[in-house]
């Protein structure tokens, strides 16, 4: 049997995604964007953490991977973790002046 998430779980996931998007925007200190200061590291970390949790909720509830078996869950979460590690790595390398060239 394939178990769908159900409307209630979907609505909770949607509300979580909305809140996390707002958390990301607040963490990125948009009120300071006009001055365009670099984010404090904790702030950038919070943005990435919120992004990771949003992507995880989307995979598990919207895409319903929670019903697809542990191998698929692991594959998608692993790919997500790799992608976020690339984003975080590139950001930190730029912040710390580690040039690849």
């Amino acid at each position: 049997m394939t178990t769908l998430p159900g409307a209630r779980r979907l609505l909770i996931a949607w509300a979580t995604l909305m809140v996390l998007t707002l958390v990301s925007m607040l963490s990125a200190r948009l009120e300071e964007a006009a001055q365009w200061q670099a984010l404090p590291l904790w702030s950038a970390g919070l943005v990435l953490l919120a992004t990771a949790f949003k992507a995880h909720r989307l995979l598990m509830v919207y895409l319903n991977l929670r019903a697809a078996g542990s191998a698929w869950r692991g594959a998608f979460v692993g790919l997500l973790a790799l992608t976020l590690a690339l984003i975080a790595g590139g950001y930190l390398a730029a912040r710390w002046g580690i040039s690849p060239g």
Binding site: L10, M25, L39, V47, L58, Y62, A71, L79, I87, A94
Partner: protein
């Protein structure tokens, strides 16, 4: 309020090997996986280039409007909810509801495209083109590639609204959620992390 839907031997796609456990057409999942890998490669390339010229990228990034990007994130995620509710409705045999949710997903997709179009128009009017600098090359490249996926996803949603079946709606919704997922990753990468 979970609903169960029987499938042959208990899997959505029996006979499809490792893809048997995934909902919708298994070939869509091949596409989803390959698209995720392609975007991950582009993100890696952007990260590499940004690390090579951080000051120039930071200076260019400040021309983006993170509030517009955030608004589009909220719109697209709400559209994803509508697509997921369409799957719930069709699985329960509520075809009219499913059509309505698919229409809502399509409408919100159109709102996303409108906001993105306004953003592109604003940047182009300011003389910021893909040739302006490295950052805007990536900005237009990544967002336009994503935009093409949004348009393809909307075409799929329209198609399955016409040819309504559980399998079709699951397949289109899965692609639409991929579009959501990629935007969730693109938004902080281009708009927020500075």
């Amino acid at each position: 309020m979970s609903e169960a839907r029987p499938h042959g031997d208990g899997l959505p796609n029996p006979g499809w090997g490792p893809f048997a456990a995934l909902p919708g057409n298994p070939l869509m999942w091949v596409l989803i996986l390959s698209e995720l890998l392609v975007f991950a490669a582009f993100f890696a390339l952007y990260a590499w280039q940004r690390a090579a010229a951080p000051a120039r990228v930071d200076a260019a990034q400040r021309h983006l409007d993170p509030l517009m990007g955030g608004l589009n994130t909220l719109v697209l995620l709400t559209s994803g909810l509508a697509a997921a509710l369409a799957v719930e409705a069709i699985a329960a045999g509520r075809r009219r509801h499913a059509r309505r949710w698919l229409g809502a997903a399509l409408g919100l997709g159109a709102v996303f495209c409108t906001i993105k179009g306004l953003e592109y128009a604003d940047k182009l009017a300011a003389g910021l083109t893909p040739e302006t600098n490295l950052f805007f090359g990536f900005y237009y490249g990544l967002t336009a590639f994503h935009f093409a996926h949004v348009l393809f996803g909307m075409a799929l949603l329209a198609l399955v609204t016409w040819r309504l079946s559980t399998d079709n709606v699951e397949t289109a919704a899965a692609f639409w959620h991929l579009v959501d997922l990629i935007w969730i990753l693109l938004y902080p990468l281009l708009y927020l992390l500075r």
